[in-house]
Amino acid sequence: MTNTLYAGWRECPEYTASVQNECYFNKTYTHIWTSYRVQLRDTAYNITYDERCFTVENIVHPDPPVALNWTLLNVSRSGLNFDILVRWAPPPSADVQMGWMSLKYEVQYRPRNGTRWEKMDLESGTQLSIYGLNTDKEYEVRVRCTMSAFENFGEFSDSVFVQVAQIPSKESMFPVMLLLVFGGVGLLLLLLLIILSQQERLLVILLPPVPAPKIKGIDPELLKKGKMEQLDSLLRSQNVCKPHSAPKDPWVEFIQLDMEDVVEKSETSDTQHLLGLTHLGSSHALSLKGDDDSGRASCYDPDMGAEPESIPPVREVHSPVVARSSFSTHIHSTTTTPEAAGMHIPVQMQPSSQSWINMDFYAQVSDVTPGGGVLLSPGQQSSTPSKNTDMKKKKEDREEDVAEEEEEEGKLQLLVVDSDGGYSSETVARQQAADAASSRVAEQAYHTLSEPPQPHPQAWQGGYLAPDRQPHMPYFSPEAPLASVLPPVSDYTVVQEVGGSHHLLLHSAAPQASVCPPHPLKLPPGEPALPLGYLTPEFLENLSP
């Protein structure tokens, strides 16, 4: 061997014993940055078989790195992948710290039983992260180094084996979560489908249509203008309002008497009020009534009790021209006719007579005086004997009361028309109609909730009530002659005028939706039909808008 500086050749100092054709020059023989030439010579024959030139730094193969280890960085959420951090130390023989050598490292890894090594990029530091390994595989990792910007790699370090146990709980969570999510989405879709398909029905259920006027069983055509006679006949012949076992008259109970009013107003004052008031804001009353009555039919509603409560304000507004019969009034408006002599007041004695305090709207006729006067009794009693149910009873009582009152009053024939749900008024009206032959009145009467149409066979002249206690009888008697003259007495009839003979002319107000089936007859002719009562969708369908 020779170098460029020295002229002389030096023979191999040590021929390796164990290996053939190998010569070892220890480090005393070489210097860095010095070029050397090696020749393979046959000294005997002076034949040079081979020659190599080099500098030391170009032929350096560093020793393998040491202390290779790994730590787990994290595991993916699904538990299928994990990341590791691999660390090592430079070979002790390399003086990296001083800067004499600058090393670069190459990490390789492969699955345990794989054949191909994955090579990472050259790393000048002593650690490296490997991402995306599978948890179900075991990996083998190794590292080797080379001098920076040189080409010769050293040997590989010893391999380390990397494996991460699977975490079953995490894995099993994942499909469950997916299932839940998909299930929720599916349900939502189903719901949407249902809503879309049943859109119309849902709309009907959620937003019930406003009932249009309709009488059950009657051709809607008849309900249009001008066909009163036919309707009259029809209605009379029908049991429009089906009997139904009324519970105890709840709304009577719920009536809150305004005691002050009661006390204040004496009979006379009431009558005076009635008389004095010629023009009542019918609309006013109506409006009040309107507010109160939200279309709940007095026929059906067990919770009619709520309604009367709303009435007290009306009452206080102006005294009960429109109704508020309550106690005293003995104000009966006569719709028409003739004060026929025959005060034919069917007497149904009310056994009890109560004080004013217990009076409700619908005063009951407790007694009929021989002179034809009617003694009213508080309507709260439930002990009145009656063949009917409580409701009917009440009604009848009222009728009786009215009748009695009529008798009492004699002259004044006023129908007490309540501004509230036309229960009483209707009954009153009914009876009126029956007797007074006011077709319209008669027409009105049919509903009252639970009450069966009451027959009033007795002719009632002058508007006296002739209550007939027999239930389930046709309400309207065909004898009601006076039809055309009178305007229909609606549920909430307002006294329009006081007649000369102390009778009140009723002005039928705009109809209130208080009847079970719609009651277009309450409408004064010419007035627009307002929704009456609660319509079922079937009625709506029948009505052709």
Binding site: T4, L5, K27, T30, H31, I32, W33, T34, S35, Y36, R37, R52, C53, F54, T55, E57, N58, D95, Q97, M98, G99, W100, S102, S148, A149, F150
Partner: protein, 224 residues
């Protein structure tokens, strides 16, 4: 593709080095308020040296692949054995341990200055080839510029440690330093020159690192 990668890498290097070197130059030019510690200067110098060395290696490899036929390569490998010794420098770790700090730094400076001069010749020679890749030429130019920056930094460093600056200007042509017959082809000569430059760049880097080790007084730096 490889050219593009090299270019891209060079671009990044340029930017990083330029930013790095900028402050050194500003420091010198600005003058007054620039205070750069010896450690900072040294670190900058080492970074320069490392980059220069890496680029020189890449240049050499690229040249070899472009111009040197395979047959010659396998036999010769690196041609740096043909380099003449510019300056007697320590050739082993033990020898380095015997050299003073001052000498180390001066050796580096001499080497840098030598190659600044002779890379110009190399560039001129490279331009004469027909199909020289532009990337190669760019690299050589880049290296030259960085060498000059390194020289300035070294001069600053030497002044800071208050040594006398030995200026060593070797005006001889590179051909004088190649112990090779003149009949050598241009290609081989250029290749040899590149190899020699690479070797010297490695030397520069190593010396600077050793010098730093001594300056920072690391325990691992003790030679004895």
């Amino acid at each position: 593709l490889k050219m593009m990668l090299l270019q891209g890498w060079l671009g990044i290097l340029f930017c990083s080095i330029h930013g790095m070197l900028g402050s050194v130059l500003d420091c010198e030019v600005g003058g007054v308020h620039c205070t750069m510690s010896i450690e900072m200067l040294l670190d900058r110098a080492i970074q320069h040296a490392e980059l220069i060395y890496r680029i020189s290696e890449e240049t050499r490899t690229q040249f070899k692949e472009t111009f040197i036929p395979l047959a010659l390569v396998t036999q010769q490998g690196h041609a740096d054995h043909l380099c003449t010794v510019i300056l007697p420098t320590p050739s082993s770790k033990s020898e380095v341990g015997q050299i003073s700090d001052k000498w180390l730094l001066h050796s580096v400076l001499i080497l840098v200055q030598f190659w600044i001069n002779h890379l110009v010749d190399l560039q001129a020679s490279l331009d004469h080839y027909d199909n020289t890749p532009q990337d190669l030429l760019d690299k050589t130019k880049w290296v030259s510029s960085k060498l000059m920056s390194l020289e300035k930094g070294l001069l600053t460093l030497i002044r800071k440690v208050r040594w006398d600056v030995l200026l060593f200007f070797n005006k001889n042509s590179i051909a004088d330093h190649l112990a090779s017959p003149r009949t050598m082809e241009h290609v081989m000569r250029d290749y040899t020159m590149l190899s020699c430059f690479r070797k010297d760049a490695h030397k520069i880097e190593t010396f600077l690192k050793l010098f730093k080790c001594r300056q920072t007084d690391w325990p691992g730096c003790s030679f004895y």
